[in-house]
């Protein structure tokens, strides 16, 4: 009996140690990122690296906003991600419903093929098209290309969700004389709220994170945040503090969203293996 107990305690310690080893690369990375952004430049370029700073400063964040049109780029990113997600929900939620009900597996397969296509490959033809339409340098091409990411995510999550809903309620509505649209709008849609939440979060995050579309299509004023931060790296004298502060600002909304909505995010990712770009 006591041997059994010892083994259980050993197992617990082993598990605690494994979990510690598993999460420390992520934990240490983000703590280091935070530390770089809060330290003075002297501390940041010191060797050996300053692990525990003597003083904390917000100067790096101030410099990010002072030197660049960071607020403008944030607005760009918000416009792009919200529009791309909104449009994707508008067409993607009904499509997920239709595909689930009609069992149109060919359409679902198309979504999967879109999932495996490299994002860059859409850009070669679309870049030509936008040049021809004289749209480069505006936000519109960026929103349109982001649909390449958001529409498949929304459709994919919603197919899975609508397939899991019982049919009986809508059938009852149809028998009672509701039109198919009313059955969708009044019965299926309210039930699908959790699924729509998952689809919205994932679609927003992967649109927010996207880099490749905007790096090709954006002009000086239409940059999204990831592109703006990348340009800070290439075109300016590199100072680590402001760079880390900018990187942290770009990814902070996503990290917060992940921490707050972790259950929805885990559910969505586990079901679909969704990933943008």
């Amino acid at each position: 009996m006591s041997r059994h107990r010892w083994r259980r305690i050993a197992g617990r310690i082993g598990l605690a140690f494994s979990v510690f080893v598993l999460i420390s690369p992520a934990l240490l990375f983000f703590l280091w990122m935070l530390s770089l952004s809060l330290k003075t430049e002297a501390d940041n370029v010191a060797y050996p690296p300053v692990l525990i700073p003597s003083e904390l400063t917000l100067d790096n964040f101030r410099e990010v906003f002072a030197k660049n049109d960071f607020a403008g780029y944030t607005l760009n990113s918000m416009i792009v991600s919200f529009s791309a997600t909104g449009l994707a929900l508008l067409v993607g939620v009904p499509a997920g419903y239709g595909i689930a009900k009609a069992r149109a597996s060919a359409s679902a397969a198309l979504i999967l093929v879109a999932r495996i296509t490299p994002g860059l490959s859409y850009l070669v033809p679309l870049f030509r098209l936008f040049q021809w339409l004289d749209l480069t340098g505006t936000l519109l091409p960026i929103v349109i290309t982001h649909l390449v990411i958001t529409v498949p995510i929304v459709v994919y999550v919603m197919i899975g969700f609508f397939e899991g809903l019982p049919n009986e309620l809508e059938e009852a509505a149809l028998v009672d004389g509701a039109t198919i649209w009313q059955a969708f709008r009044r019965v299926a849609l309210p039930l699908a709220r959790p699924g729509i939440t998952v689809a919205t979060i994932l679609s927003f995050i992967f649109s927010w994170n996207n880099f490749v579309f905007a790096v090709v299509l954006a002009g000086r004023t239409s940059r999204t945040l990831p592109v703006a931060v990348y340009n800070t790296l290439t075109f300016e004298q590199i100072s680590w503090g402001p760079l880390a502060a900018a990187a942290l600002l770009v990814t902070a909304p996503v990290l917060l969203l992940t921490l707050l909505m972790q259950r929805e995010i885990v559910a969505g990712l586990t079901a679909g293996g969704v990933k943008g770009g």
Partner: protein
């Protein structure tokens, strides 16, 4: 009461009828998304195929080139190296995340305090903005001032050249990729583990099986389909990897970390050789398809 007897049957036929009629109307739900997909996904595919047969540079007239763009690849050493490099990067970036991801899933499937917080921290790397993450890695890789070389030397190990040497750049990028995408493997496998029945384990424990035997002979075969799904997705994503490589090494030093996706970017948006770039897209897509189908075939063969 004839009405009362017939009512259920009537409802049933009506239901069947209505279902048949409605099946066609469901296409109306798919139509708007279909239009969007046709415009931003199908049209680019078709246009790419067309352009790959053209001699097309920005600023000059387009002319039909037949298969010249494809033939050119065979003599293009930089292209062929990019393919080999992509396969090298991909195989390592599938191997490590899969092994670690399965181990992590087994850990996170157990109950312990603060489990959901630990799991959330573990998946942060895959949610964080890749460009932001890549910038911080770049600072950490700095040969003199970077924190990673400090950690190595503190542990009594020689410092590494990380992304500043052609021998170490790809393993370093694989490390970043592993850090970033192991969580996705973990989540998919965790989904599989959560659906496992409890009784085989109880039976095995009665027979005196130890933890490793349980894992090897019960868990692994049962979650194998999930592991294969994770493997396929990992392979596809590693083949397509762009953001972190582009930001951290830019394909360098020289071309020593230039994968196919990076080379494609150069051809399309640095040299503006649109015809050739389109041909690369077609071959790239075929390569991804091929790898996916090969892995899927293994999936059906093993299950």
């Amino acid at each position: 009461m004839p009405d009362g007897i017939d009512a259920p049957r009537e409802t049933a036929t009506r239901r069947k009828l209505s279902r048949r009629n409605y099946a066609r109307s469901y296409w109306l739900f798919i139509l708007p998304a279909g239009v969007v997909v046709a415009a931003v996904i199908l049209f680019p595919w078709a246009f790419t195929l067309f352009m790959s047969l053209q001699d097309m540079h920005v600023g000059s007239a387009m002319s039909f080139a037949g298969l010249a763009n494809y033939r050119r690849m065979l003599d293009d050493d930089r292209f062929l190296w990019a393919i080999l490099r992509t396969l090298y990067f991909t195989s390592l970036s599938v191997f490590f995340p899969t092994i670690i991801g399965v181990a992590a899933a087994v850990c996170f499937n157990k109950h312990f305090p603060l489990r959901s917080l630990a799991r959330t921290i573990f998946i942060l790397p895959m949610m964080a903005t890749p460009v932001a993450v890549a910038l911080v890695w770049t600072m950490m890789f700095h040969p003199q001032l970077g924190v990673l070389n400090y950690l190595l030397t503190s542990a009594g190990l020689p410092p590494s050249t990380w992304v500043y040497d052609s021998a170490t750049v790809i393993p370093t990028l694989v490390m970043v990729e592993t850090w970033q995408w192991t969580p996705l493997v973990m989540l998919i496998v965790l989904g599989g583990l959560a659906s496992l029945p409890a009784d085989p384990y109880e039976a095995a424990q009665l027979d005196g099986a130890n933890g490793w035997q349980c894992f090897r002979h019960i868990t692994l075969p049962l979650v194998w389909p999930f592991i294969l799904v994770a493997l396929v997705l990992r392979a596809v994503d590693a083949l397509k990897a762009f953001d972190t490589i582009f930001v951290i090494s830019g394909g360098g030093p020289g071309t020593s970390s230039e994968t196919l996706n990076l080379y494609l970017y150069q051809q399309a948006f640095a040299y503006y050789d649109i015809g050739f770039a389109s041909a690369i897209v077609v071959v790239f897509f075929a390569l991804i398809m091929l790898v996916t189908l090969l892995l899927m075939r293994r999936r059906s063969a093993t299950s």
